[in-house]
Symmetry: D2
């Protein structure tokens, strides 16, 4: 890992360290679960089924950014809590995001989806969480979350040094999540044979 | 820069390259303009004035994630387009985000704010854009945007290699923006003497 | 009740009948529970506590319109699910809206608020619903909702005649709700001694 | 018009008077322009084109409630400013709502849509407004708006009596708008041969 001079502007130093955390995270994510999620997503678009992205707070915002790109790729995608979200049911797909895996409203919504026989991909830091347990596929994203044990906290400190408040609350999970979801989009583009021009055609023209 | 084995899962490889782009970006951001923006933000919270965050599409989502943390820090912050956004006027602060600096609605909104004598911090990739020109302080964030010249595109290709569709449309701007804004929060925490516990107290309790 | 000529444009005839339903509804709402809710709201603004408005779907949209006016009146009000919604706790106020009183996410959110000792005003058509049962004050708004019993359905048919699909799903509840909440605002204005000019000062200046 | 006893709870009295205003409004709306708008909407669903609903503030909330029902009816409908709003272009339909007809962002958005050769239905109180002028079809909804002349104000006072603050700012426009849009939905249901059961099938199942 390269270093940054100590007398640099601290904001840039923090950027550097957060980016380093994502470099670390990119190595520990389990490839097999990513591949399984890609296959579920590709089957979803082939069958023209709906995708509903569910998340609260900053995870929900990352989910929306992901949903926007899925729309650009031609997915029939909706965001939980927005106006035109339709009925979902059997064979539709839920992408549920929660660092802790125990955000009440996300677990409630995912449980309701499960009862309707929708398929669920969970993105979380906690394999033993209520969300992970009801999901068909779990992708583990590292990050110090609200539930962080001292052990995972220790890993973060190793990476980031002693700057305790550098990445408060779910920040590391959220940044890694954003980069992960954008990388998933890049891979979906390749597998679907889509170019940037294809995406641009579906990009909102009025904004 | 470290390398990643060629036979790794492509999604993880993309994460790695996007993170490397942020490492690059963290070096080219102008420290003086970041310092100036920090001082405007600190003056804003000291005076108890309003902050209004304005952005469209995925930049707007990054702006909301920033607004949420400003709220956790005690800022009197609002998001353009949400329900309870109040009147803003003289001495209030607008943080306006647009990679191209020419998104129509953002320029229209920022122009209206300017007429009311609000102060404007622009975050953009284009110094000569309409948004940058009417702003009091401009922070330049690199990233291939909708208007990317061949030159900036070249820089990106140097970093990313030849994976043209790896980071479509404004992706690199948006990822860098997210990390930059989280780093700004980290520095504001330090300067305001806030701990993670302080932030947690203001974090939504119902979600 | 006045009548409308049979050969009028049907849309205008439907408006007429929906307005007549609101006239009917304005007579059956219980005055004592409205007065109790007004007192809770007035105590809230006097003490500078937070109000959080919670609702899903079209009830949630009516709730947002109400929240916007509460903001114009000077309340410290937030909308569940939006970006800058802060922590709520003891002595804060939840206004929870659900025609059926059993919308899962609203009940989940209200239950969480209850655990934090927030005060809850429920607006619903069902006194025996899970939402009504955990609330400190219930305002009953008539309207054929998802759970409509044949009895309440009968009342609606008496008013509206046989046009079964005239007001599908929760429409009558939602329209009555909108008019009720605007009337509550009118009364709050009077009791707080606020004029339209006071409201205009807080109205969003950039839109 | 029936009357209401003077000693009734004031909130119920206000409901009664607002409902009376809608009764009045239901008589003055121009039937021919409503019929023209219905035909544009029916052509839109027959051709499977997109509808984009645009509005700010409380008018935007009424627009969202309308969009939700259009979705329940099978329209390919989107809301300006939400996450998954796609490109719109030639032959798509914009429903643009602004009481004053001069809300900057709505005029900016509608102008952009016009340049892309989308068709525009404007819903406004002002026939001479910038929005009305660029629209293909204008529906005039009465209501005292931000621009209310003394003359229109006089009409409102005749209906409502002297309660100046009863319906502050755009309230009367917004309430009438809500009832008008729900009545448009009722008529679309009839013309499309849709029943409440059809709508329920598309209603969000997770909320």
């Amino acid at each position: 890992m390269t270093t940054m001079s100590k007398d640099e502007c601290l904001v840039k130093r923090f950027m550097y360290e957060i980016a380093n955390y994502v470099l670390y995270a990119s190595k520990v994510i389990d490839s097999a679960s990513v591949e399984a999620a890609l296959e579920i997503l590709l089957e979803n678009i082939r069958n023209g089924r709906k995708v509903l992205v569910i998340g609260a707070g900053r995870s929900g915002l990352a989910g929306r950014a992901f949903a926007m790109r899925l729309m650009h790729l031609g997915f029939n995608v909706y965001v939980f809590g927005e106006t035109i979200t339709p009925a979902v049911g059997e064979n539709d797909l839920i992408v549920a995001i929660s660092g802790s895996g125990s955000t009440k409203l996300i677990v409630t919504a995912a449980t309701a989806a499960k009862e309707m026989k929708a398929k669920i991909i969970a993105i979380t830091s906690h394999r033993d969480s209520p969300l992970a347990k009801i999901s068909d596929q779990v992708i583990m994203i590292p990050g110090r979350t609200k539930l962080a044990s001292e052990e995972s906290d220790y890993t973060v400190r190793q990476i980031l040094g002693s700057h305790e408040p550098l990445a408060p609350l779910g920040t590391l999970f959220e940044v890694t999540l954003n980069v992960f979801l954008d990388s998933l989009i890049a891979e979906l583009m390749q597998r679907l044979g889509k170019t940037e021009i294809d995406l641009r055609k579906r990009h909102a023209t009025i904004e």
